[in-house]
């Protein structure tokens, strides 16, 4: 076997042009697959993080019946005591009270409906990062009594700028009409998905309590877990503690069903695209390896004439393919990961297509930051290596069955 490995190694490097062609196609194929998958995953991550980090947090606790219509009649009566209980859980890095309700925003002759979210700024920074997405002006401060932060799209829609006074009208929890005027102090535009930028406006928690007549109460508690993947386990623990009779405990997956539907739909299309590209890459690799083995029929004929058994010919061909494949996936992996790293910093702008991407519920980020994990790099590399080896199996078996003299004369081919 050692001798065959040495032969395979020398064959790869002696016939460097042929190896370059075959190895190049494997490396390029892998780099392409890495880049495409990284774009898919980057888009998905941005889409999820856009919501989780800026808006929903990982989990939310509401009074049962609130979330479906964001009905403020279903507010929590004693949110502070629930927060005190939750604060004892391990794996929670932040808790914040919120009031969320539907409102009507007016500015001069323009108006729009929106979800107004009342937050306590000092607590909110522990559960979401929206303050980082404020592009103009500033985020809310605890001392603000009549300040509002709008999404960029919403401010465009209303043609309202920093310093403008926005009127907000809603129906309060006591049945009265709630109305207030807020000064625009900040305009936010989250990195990646800005689909929710047109739907949500933020004010201080106490200002929202006044508007909705929810003094001392909240509509929900936002929870941030240590990481997104432990949220599901935390969800079950909290459900066990609070029960489901009076409360609804939801993770980010349930909080944004449109996002999840869009995510699932795009995932199917993305994986179909990935599969198509993979098949194209696989057929390219198969073709080059087939050509490479066919070219060497005479050499295999000589080896058989000397007494090399069929299975030994198969081992030699597959060893070469494995070796070339291994070198190529290292090169392809480095190139692919390198390209992903560059675009992970610079991003890939889809701004020229913004008009099409922002429509509907696609939630497609306008700047995609490809994302590659080591696990995915390993999966793709293993798949491409497997294809390189499998591609050699057919010509290897055919080569092993040729009559030696026919292979030497190259009158028979695979």
């Amino acid at each position: 076997m050692k001798f065959f490995i040495r032969m395979a190694w020398r064959n790869v490097f002696t016939n460097w042009r042929r190896s370059l062609l075959t190895g190049g196609s494997i490396a390029a194929g892998l780099a392409g697959l890495i880049f495409i998958w990284a774009c898919v995953e980057g888009t998905n991550e941005q889409m999820i993080n856009g919501y989780v980090d800026n808006l929903t947090g990982h989990l939310q606790v509401h009074r049962r019946g609130f979330y479906k219509d964001r009905d403020i009649y279903f507010a929590l009566d004693d949110p502070r005591s629930i927060m005190a209980q939750l604060s004892r859980f391990p794996g929670i890095s932040g808790l914040a009270e919120r009031i969320e309700g539907k409102v009507f925003l007016l500015f001069r002759e323009r108006s729009t409906d929106a979800v107004l979210i009342g937050v306590e700024p000092s607590e909110e920074v522990k559960v979401t990062n929206l303050w980082k997405s404020v592009k103009m002006g500033r985020y809310l401060q605890t001392s603000d009594t009549s300040a509002i932060v709008l999404g960029q799209d919403m401010s465009r829609q209303l043609k309202a700028n920093l310093g403008d006074q926005i009127a907000v009208v809603t129906q309060a929890a006591d049945g009265s009409v709630g109305a207030a005027r807020y000064k625009v102090v900040g305009i936010y535009s989250p990195r990646g998905s800005d689909a929710f930028g047109s739907n949500y406006a933020f004010v201080n928690l106490n200002a929202a309590r006044d508007l909705f007549a929810l003094w001392g109460r909240s509509t929900g508690i936002v929870i941030r877990a240590n990481n997104r993947y432990t949220a599901y386990f935390l969800l079950n623990l909290i459900i066990n503690m609070l029960g489901t009779r009076d409360f609804e405990v939801m993770d980010w997956w349930q909080l944004v069903p449109d996002l999840v539907n869009s995510y699932n739909m795009r995932k199917v299309f993305a994986y179909l695209t990935l599969l198509t590209v993979f098949l194209i890459v696989a057929s390219g690799i198969t073709n080059t390896i087939l050509m490479s083995v066919t070219e060497r029929m005479r050499e295999f004929g000589i080896m058989m004439a000397l007494g090399t058994r069929g299975y030994q010919i198969i081992i030699i061909i597959i060893l070469e393919s494995l070796l070339l494949g291994a070198i190529s996936i290292v090169v392809g992996g480095i190139i692919g990961a390198g390209i992903v790293s560059i675009f992970n910093i610079t991003g890939i702008s889809f701004n020229p297509y913004a008009r099409y991407l922002e429509s509907g519920a696609l939630y497609f980020p306008l700047v995609v930051y490809p994302l590659l994990t080591f696990q995915r790099l390993c999966i793709l590399s293993a798949m491409v290596l497997l294809v390189s080896v499998l591609a050699a199996v057919y010509p290897a078996i055919k080569a092993s069955r040729l009559r030696p003299i026919a292979a030497i004369r190259q009158v028979e081919t695979i």
Partner: protein, 223 residues
């Protein structure tokens, strides 16, 4: 005991509708230790006969026996084993493995036979010294002259000490001086080691040096 015996051996090649008869009713017996030439003009069927005798190709009819074992009914695995253990080949175009150096080309056959490393190295070195190539054992085929390449091929053919060495026009790609030197070497190996040599040639000078000769014309042995 005969080492090779053929019975009504025939070989027909078909290319589309065209049939080419390469061998017709060849009956031949070669004794062990012989230095046997198959002579004839180009296209007479010399190479085809050698290929069939060497189990590189199967005849379309007739039978062939190597030490009384019927090659025509042997499996491809058995034929590979016979080629490995009983027959050595010297091809007209040398047919060395390009990525292996002279030493490794010779070693390859012993490796396939599973000879232990130390013994293998010793025997390879002996074979290369035997053919007068001890100074260029680590050169690859492309770095050797035609004569040297053919000597490596001879060393490869004899290293496993086969009963039979088949040489297809071994001097055809060599100049006359190198060709004569190679024939000296083959005769010497035949006489000292008792290896049976069967070679094809169309060169009358080479034919003269054979102990026995069979003349082929249009695929048939001339009386």
């Amino acid at each position: 005991m005969s080492i090779i015996r053929t019975e009504n051996l025939g070989q027909v090649y078909r290319t589309g509708r065209i049939e080419v008869v390469a061998l017709r009713m060849v009956n031949l017996t070669i004794e062990g230790g012989d230095f046997f030439a198959i002579a004839g003009p180009s296209g007479s069927g010399k190479t085809t006969l050698l290929n069939v005798i060497g189990a590189l190709d199967s005849p379309t009819h007739g039978r062939i026996f190597l030490e009384e074992e019927d090659l025509t009914s042997a499996s491809s695995a058995r034929l590979a084993e016979i080629r490995l253990k009983k027959i050595g080949f010297v091809f007209q175009a040398f047919n060395l493995i390009p990525v292996l150096n002279a030493f490794e080309n010779v070693e390859y056959v012993l490796l396939l036979q599973g000879v232990p490393e130390l013994e293998r190295k010793k025997r390879v070195l002996e074979a290369l010294i035997e053919v007068g190539l001890k100074d260029c054992i680590y050169r690859r085929p492309l770095d050797l002259s035609s004569g040297q390449q053919q000597r490596v091929a001879v060393a490869r053919a004899i290293v496993a000490e086969p009963r039979l060495v088949l040489a297809d026009e071994p001097t055809a790609n060599l100049d006359s001086k190198t060709g004569a030197g190679l024939m000296d070497l083959l005769i010497d190996l035949n006489q000292r080691k008792g290896i049976t040599f069967v070679f094809s040639t169309h060169d009358p000078m080479i034919v003269q040096r054979a102990r026995r000769v069979a003349y082929l014309k249009d695929g048939q042995i001339e009386k």
